[in-house]
Symmetry: C2
Subunit: 337 residues, 2 copies
């Protein structure tokens, strides 16, 4: 099926992606990335996320020994914003937006990555995320909690110390709003979009990367980034706090398996942005929402050649060269340990 150019529907957002399976032969004469020498000390005196070190604005990172969460010193969103609205002729429309931005250190060890940490330590990160989602989501004005990690200089991470971020918002951002609309439409006709989708994928098998009793990682049928993956709990759950201890261990395990495969693909700490999409925290039950994590890694052919989302992609629609099936196969064939 579809050996030539075609488009696929992203069922989670309702948007299309263009797939060009024949285009992989294209030679690359463009920008190649630097590969950062990945030898880091366990402690870096110049790193503001290492235990005991000073941060911007005079704060000091304490001597933590598992995870450590603090308010971002350069927060894009702040909670103390006076409500304001502007609408000039239905054309210039703006609204004040409150929020909270936090940093989550995954480990005191400067030299590790999430996937290199012991399973129990990743489990602690999962618990920290669950607690943060609960704490921030329970503020009456917070309607969405975005937990994410930018890994690698290529993804704009300004510090290699293993850490992620949390941006909690007054209003539902664009992407979760699209996903909410699609999941709702499916629920209205009886069914959970991602439960049903996971069934089809497990039956099909072609796009599955790895899994355990509680979680599956797959390259979605509509993947945009070359090695994009979607991580899904096998039993319906809306957010991290819904997961029992075994499921949380399962999530930690699959994050470890998946990121280790990524690192082996091109023999480099694989850059990516990853994040959890959980139920909105607007007070509604949102039973239609199925918890999931997205991994968006930019690399295409090697440690130094990435996919650029530029001209056609920005002005028209995303375009990919290798098929999701090929990407899944390549990730599936790699060892996990």
């Amino acid at each position: 099926m579809f050996t030539a150019s075609h488009r696929r529907l992203n069922r989670l957002t309702g948007e299309w992606v263009l797939v060009s399976p024949h285009r992989t032969a294209r030679p690359w004469q463009g920008q190649v990335e630097e590969v950062a020498a990945d030898q880091r000390p366990t402690y870096d005196p110049a790193c503001y996320l290492c235990p005991g070190n000073g941060r911007a604005g005079g704060a000091r990172t304490p001597e933590y020994d598992s995870t450590y969460v603090f308010d971002n010193d350069f927060a894009a969103l702040t909670p103390d914003v006076a409500p304001e609205e502007d609408d000039r002729k239905g054309l210039l429309i703006a609204q004040s937006e409150r929020g909270i931005c936090r940093v989550v250190c995954f480990s005191p060890r400067h030299d590790l990555t999430l996937g290199q940490m012991p399973a129990e330590a990743i489990r602690t990160v999962v618990d920290t995320w669950a607690d943060q989602y609960l704490e921030l989501g329970s503020l009456d004005w917070v309607r969405h909690v975005q937990i994410f990690e930018n890994r690698g200089a290529m993804m704009g991470a300004s510090n290699p110390h293993p850490h992620g971020q949390i941006w909690a918002n007054e209003r539902l951002p664009n992407e979760p709003a699209k996903e909410l609309a699609q999941q709702r439409a499916r629920a209205d006709s009886g069914g959970c979009l991602l439960c049903d989708y996971l069934d089809v994928e497990l039956n099909d098998g072609e796009r599955i990367v790895t899994g355990n009793e509680h979680f599956t990682a797959l390259v979605p049928f509509w993947a945009v980034w070359p090695f994009e993956t979607l991580v899904l709990p096998r039993a319906h759950a809306g957010a991290l706090p819904d997961l029992g201890p075994d499921q949380r261990d399962g999530l930690a395990d699959i994050l470890r398996r998946l990121t280790r495969r990524y690192d082996r693909l091109f023999g480099v700490t694989f850059p990516y942005s990853m994040g959890l999409h959980q139920q909105p925290t607007d007070g509604d039950p949102h039973r239609e929402w199925h918890l999931h994590a997205h991994f968006y890694p930019p690399l295409l052919r090697s440690a130094t050649v990435r996919k650029f989302m530029v001209g056609y992609e920005l002005l028209g629609q995303p375009q990919r060269d290798i098929t999701p099936e090929t990407a899944a196969q390549r990730l599936r064939e790699l060892p996990e340990d």
Copy 2:
């Protein structure tokens, strides 16, 4: 107004952008880009876009002396695709997609950029674009013609020879589809979205960058990229072929003015993706559509520090630090010659 975090509505797409005016103080410790030494010969024997040189697949670029258009040797879209559709349980949805991908050399001179070319030569590029839009758009199965340029290694351009691309599609891609819906909604209540918007902006003045009798360049109220601009014809027009000779000169002139300002901002050939959004070519009149060009440049603070559209941006919504008003002011204060 809005000195703290707020969101603004992109009236062309219906999506939101988060603005954090207070965040500009953030220090940058992350990836810095290389600045390519911009000394190029007028002719490069290794460049497949220079006159007389060989291309992939054995073709040869002729001895052209103004613009030169050819079918992309590594086309993402091809015209000879058998119609095929797939829909597995309403979840795995795909359709074959026909298309044509072309390359447009702006000049035989290897060392120039669009903005450095003489006004008459830019005008020839405008005429070439208009002819291509007409030729491709008149094919009965082509419903959208995307003309664009990726400039600079940072934007995935694999060759510095001044050139752009054209991707013509069987179906309307995501972004123009969103713009069509918004422009239609405005037209239904009587009015052209971008005519009305331009009026407001010309009155306001704060976001205007430059202009001439026929065209205006401004930083849109909802700009996502730090120095994003929108180029608008002052009189309603749906596509390039609607423009008379003076208007075409006007477009060439504004492209020259704008790109020269960009190059002066950080003293470097400013990387960007730019493209024209013209009426769909599906056979309907589309009087609601107002021709425009988008410039999406990634640089934020200097020639080496860019904005990363990563974690929160990919998973939530785009976020920007400096305001569109500040960006417009900085571009406005620069000389054009």
